[in-house]
């Protein structure tokens, strides 16, 4: 069963903030985040390995709430380059299963 992402799509103006959520009905041991630009392969952003862990990458950060079985990706002061589809991934018996994706569009 794949993780569920919300929202499905979001439109921002440059400089605005956004939050993308990823939740699972089953226990999470780790959460992966990837970004895919149109026509390209997904690119790794970060992995969170344990509950309570938070990581940052430039102005993109994420948190992992193991008890609530969810993770959130925070995009701060968005830039045009942040546009793309964001995927979270979770592990199921060694398989990395992705959510359906959240399409983020940043407008000037």
């Amino acid at each position: 069963q794949q993780p569920v992402q919300s929202p499905q799509a979001v439109i921002l103006r440059e400089g605005e903030d956004a939050v993308i959520n990823c939740s699972s009905s089953k226990a999470l041991y780790s959460v992966h985040w990837y970004r895919q630009k149109h026509g390209e392969a997904p690119v790794f952003l970060m992995i969170l390995l344990k509950g309570g862990e938070q990581k940052g990458h430039d102005k993109i950060s994420a948190s992992f709430n193991e008890k609530k079985q969810q993770s959130s990706l925070y995009l701060t002061a968005s830039q045009l380059s942040y546009s793309g589809t964001y995927f979270c991934g979770t592990l199921r018996g060694g398989k990395l299963i992705f959510g359906q994706g959240t399409e983020l569009s940043v407008k000037p």
């Binding site: 041991y29 390209e40 390995l49 995927f87 060694g94 959510g99 359906q100």
Partner: protein
């Protein structure tokens, strides 16, 4: 630094034809994956491998076969191609070091193969 190499980049098949999508990585990664991505949709796992000689089904394995005879190569075979297999196929690999029995290493993706079945 080649990373993950997929061939071909584009292919058109007729219904009922067969073909093999090639994937090779030069990073000595243990784990390899095949995903498909339909237009505007997410990534669905077809098959994966945790090492040479070991493969297992993912979410959507029907109509596909894989083999892993070497660490470097993980080809995906389509038998009797159908229009429903029109998609972009991505191969990925990771080192596969685990914690609590799960991989905690990032995936490196190939550039993809766009396949159309007409």
């Amino acid at each position: 630094n080649a990373g993950v190499t997929q061939t071909p980049k584009f292919r058109i098949l007729k219904i009922g034809q067969s073909m093999t999508l090639q994937c090779a990585q030069d990073m000595n990664h243990n784990y390899m994956y095949w995903y498909r991505q339909d237009p505007g949709m997410g990534l669905k796992l077809i098959y994966y491998s945790v090492g040479a000689g070991i493969t297992d089904k993912g979410e959507v394995p029907n109509g596909y076969n894989v083999s892993r005879s070497t660490t470097e190569d993980f080809p995906l075979r389509l038998e009797l191609a159908a229009p429903s297999q029109t998609s972009v196929y991505f191969c990925a690999s990771s080192y596969g070091r685990t914690g609590r029995g799960e991989t905690n290493e990032k995936l490196f993706f190939g550039s993809g193969t766009q396949l159309s079945v007409l």
